[in-house]
């Protein structure tokens, strides 16, 4: 069986070809055209540019994915070899989502192959299944520029069921990294820049808040942390000044302290969720899952407290938006996929109430 995955929820245009033989995944192609460099100029994603670029990129990316798949498989892969088309329906930027959804609808019509709508967030977690046999129930943590969510995934006769058990009450953690980077004049995207600077910083140097850490729930809040950094930059005016000076150390210390504050809250709520729901597995997903300190500390903390819980973290190439995750998530929906009325099928920027 061959699934074509399409992902255009935000600033990446991506296509993947996934072959499934006796339940085993064989990723034949996974092509991502990152637009990050284009957006860096503007200090963030510019939606109009994102959608226009996606329109330009989608066909070349699809062709490249099929060509690559053909060269990797013993059989020739053409668009006629595709059995299912999985596409991200939401959440995301409406104008970007539409490019992928409309392309998928057209392909589904022309090739007469079924369409599978995929939730972008579920896909970020399910990508962990690509090389692993995962046992459910699982607790999943999605950390990205748009979301910070703890999910409980259970398996039933009708496929996987998702329940959001906690989420951010204001900013997403990736958004906090981006906005703090902006406050510190560091550029975009903020995550990799801050985590790199944090390596040589002292994480205990600045005492930053751990919002909501004491609250007996699974929710997060990061906007107060962003404001706390803002106050620090006003207090220590030279923290934003040039590199190779004494203030450079202070900048590194601030980055390390900020990063640690985020990590502490994420870990504390995750441990609470594992304790409460006693899952067999823990899954991490989303762009911030690329943060090396977060990965390291999550691994250590879960391992030491819950020895039986299996921990799954995506390979770095699967942390950011990609289409392999969409194809994998699509596979899990095949058996219980209601026939989609292609004409009525639309992109939905706000679907995160139900991840199914």
């Amino acid at each position: 069986m061959i699934i074509l995955g399409i992902e255009t929820s935000c600033d990446e245009t991506a296509a993947a070809v996934l072959e499934i033989k006796r339940g085993k995944f064989n990723l034949l192609a996974n092509v991502v055209s990152s637009q990050v460099k284009t957006h860096a100029k503007y200090g963030g994603i510019v939606p109009e540019i994102a959608a226009r670029m996606q329109m330009e990129m989608i066909m070349p990316i699809l062709n490249q994915a099929l060509k690559l798949a053909s060269s990797k498989s013993q059989n020739t892969i053409s668009k006629n070899s595709i059995d299912y088309i999985a596409v991200t329906q939401g959440p995301g930027l409406i104008t970007s989502l539409m490019v992928g959804v409309e392309t998928a609808k057209t392909l589904s019509y022309i090739l007469n192959k079924p369409l599978i709508p995929v939730n972008h967030l579920a896909a970020h977690l399910l990508v962990n299944c690509i090389n692993n046999k995962i046992k459910f129930p699982a607790v999943g943590l999605i950390v990205s520029g748009g979301h910070t969510i703890l999910v409980l995934i259970t398996s039933s006769k009708n496929g996987l069921k998702y329940k959001i058990i906690g989420e951010t009450q204001d900013d997403a953690v990736g958004e906090a990294f981006d906005k703090v980077a902006k406050i510190l004049n560091l550029g975009y995207p903020g995550g990799p820049i801050i985590s790199k600077l944090a390596i040589n910083g002292d994480k205990n140097k600045f005492n930053l808040p751990r919002p909501m850490i004491q609250q007996q729930n699974f929710n997060f809040s990061f906007s107060g942390l962003k404001t706390a950094v803002l106050y620090l930059t006003q207090k220590y005016k030279n923290i934003k000044t040039k590199k190779h000076s004494k203030s450079d150390y202070e900048l590194r210390n601030l980055c390390a302290s900020f990063q640690q504050a985020c990590i502490d809250v994420l870990i504390s709520k995750t441990l609470r969720a594992i304790k409460e729901f006693k899952p067999k597995s823990f899954l991490l997903g989303g762009g911030v899952a690329a943060n090396p300190e977060l990965r390291k500390q999550l691994q250590e903390k879960i391992k030491s407290k819950f020895t039986r819980v299996k921990i799954f973290m995506p390979e770095l190439k699967f942390t950011g938006d990609n289409a392999a995750m969409v194809a994998v998530a699509g596979y899990f929906k095949i058996n219980n996929n209601k026939k989609i009325n292609t004409k009525k099928f639309k992109a939905d920027p706000n679907i995160n109430n139900s991840l199914s």
Binding site: P47, E48, D170, E175
Partner: protein, 155 residues
């Protein structure tokens, strides 16, 4: 012009409620102020005023979030503030450099709707496409750490 000084997040929310009390029809609010100046918390206050149960989260990522205003069971008379209002629309222009994008995702539909309260963060970026009756609210950091100066400009 009205000027408020808020000493905490709770007070910022209270100020939002106070301002909203005067709205009988749909309104467009343009929030202007830097990162961390209280724009999202102000919007949270509005949502509390309209008894919206859903959590108001930052719309930076998706640009626009829509919340339905529940019908107020107590407002049987026509003067009730909630009788006519059905939508709270929360928009964030932080990532925009051109206003056209918002038109593409249906801004006009909401703006020309007397049943909607439209709150726009970083509104200064799209000033040229906003109607003249937009109420601009400026947010500034005060001298003390949690202090915010909130200034409402009603034309």
């Amino acid at each position: 012009m009205q000027k408020y000084i808020s000493k905490s997040i709770t007070e910022t929310k209270k100020i939002a409620k106070k301002i909203a009390k005067n709205f009988k029809n749909g309104k467009i609010l343009g929030l202007v102020g830097n990162l961390g100046s209280g724009k999202t918390h102000f919007t949270k206050g509005l949502a509390e005023f309209y008894k919206i149960k859903k959590t108001i989260t930052s719309p930076t990522f998706v640009l626009l979030r829509h919340y339905s205003i529940p019908r107020d069971p107590s407002s049987r008379n026509t003067s009730g503030f909630r009788t006519g209002l059905k939508n709270l629309v929360h928009i964030d222009c932080y990532r925009l450099d051109k206003p056209n994008q918002l038109l593409e995702i249906g801004l006009e539909e909401y703006i020309n709707n007397p049943e909607s309260v439209v709150v726009i963060e970083w509104a200064e970026k799209i000033k040229n496409i906003l109607p003249k009756n937009t109420i601009y609210i400026n947010f500034k950091l005060g001298k003390k750490e949690n202090e915010r100066i909130i200034q409402v400009n009603i034309n």
